[in-house]
Symmetry: C2
């Protein structure tokens, strides 16, 4: 990213766009870049020096905004969650509850993945894969994100049952797993192959997916 040169001369007037970008707006600019780097190369590869260079400020100046790398990582996840919520969850809730909302959820998620295809695709799939074996606050934050994603999908499916769009005895937990696995796998395969036909396949899978029944025959074994 091109950024105004540091203007090393001490007496030069600072009419640059920076220098008056106080507080919150600088922080937002930092996190915009942090999301990109973290999604593409991982939350560990998100180094403070690299991030500072990218947004055109000093390591120390950037560091002061967060106090530690761990805080920066968590702030980055929070920021990514805001994006996910505004690009996937909120547009989904704008559709009528039930089957339309389920289809909308998948479409908005796929649009989200494609929109960020060059930045690592789904932020939370990448973060989950990176931190699933670790411990500490960062992993906990990642875990919470996935849990919230699952809970949202559970609610959508529950509404679909209540609206009569799915059979009354639908096993919502099982169906939620199937859809989570489907979209997660779709994201991973799309990131690797970069072939939009994968989304067509996923849509077709959802259309043909038989609603699993509660306490049917699948309980044993």
């Amino acid at each position: 990213m091109k950024r105004t040169p540091p203007a090393k001369t001490s007496k030069a007037p600072p009419p640059t766009d920076r220098r008056r970008a106080h507080g919150a707006s600088t922080r937002r600019e930092i996190l915009d870049a942090a999301r990109r780097i973290a999604a593409a190369d991982g939350l560990e590869a998100l180094s403070i020096g690299r991030l500072a260079t990218e947004v055109g400020m000093s390591k120390a100046g950037l560091f002061a905004h967060f106090g530690s790398k761990e805080s920066l990582q968590i702030a980055t996840i929070d920021s990514a969650w805001d994006v996910y919520r505004s690009e996937v969850l909120e547009p989904t809730t704008a559709s009528p509850p039930g089957a339309p909302q389920l289809r909308a959820y998948m479409e908005h998620y796929f649009e989200y993945v494609q929109r960020h295809a060059m930045d690592g695709g789904c932020f939370f799939t990448a973060a989950s894969s990176e931190f699933d074996d670790r411990t500490g606050p960062v992993r906990d934050r990642v875990f919470k994100s996935t849990a919230e994603r699952s809970a949202f999908l559970d609610n959508v499916l529950h509404d679909a049952v209540a609206a009569g769009h799915l059979p009354k005895n639908t096993d919502v937990a099982q169906m939620s797993f199937e859809i989570m696995a489907l979209v997660t796998g779709t994201n991973l395969l799309f990131q690797l192959y970069k072939d939009p036909q994968i989304f067509q396949r996923a849509r077709r899978t959802l259309r043909a997916m038989p609603p699993p029944k509660r306490s049917s025959k699948g309980a044993a074994d």
Copy 2:
């Protein structure tokens, strides 16, 4: 890890247990540790100093085996592929072609994931997620692995059609995608939740999966 000094010769016990673990066996020992680190923390977190400490040799001595970090990464992927082949692919081919082989493939894969649960689960899912946005020999090697995994599954499904276990007009490519997405998503969710019930859900999904038909209605849109 036990060194198991070969001590093939009648010579007196060497001062250090190492020193006679020549060539291939040292290399194998290095790659055993490298697979663990790379699967758990990522191929980039696989640092030479850390790896050298883990196997009890010097950075320079270990480095000499590979010549560059990139070569080490590729050798680690090759080693992980050998494990995947011997633990998943070869046991699968021991089952009769067709539907039994398809079920065996999934079971052997799940056993593989569980066996390496503490080491990051499926090596190739983790590697794909880490390198899907990069370029270079390492990404190419990861890509090749996933392509071979898909091709193997394609063959299993093709055999199942030929054996009459799946309808003649089964869309093998579509079904292969659905199963790849299913097992990939299953691995990711299991790594995060560490709940073996997830495998039960995945088995149930496969049992209930309707074989997609070729040139049905999914082509449009």
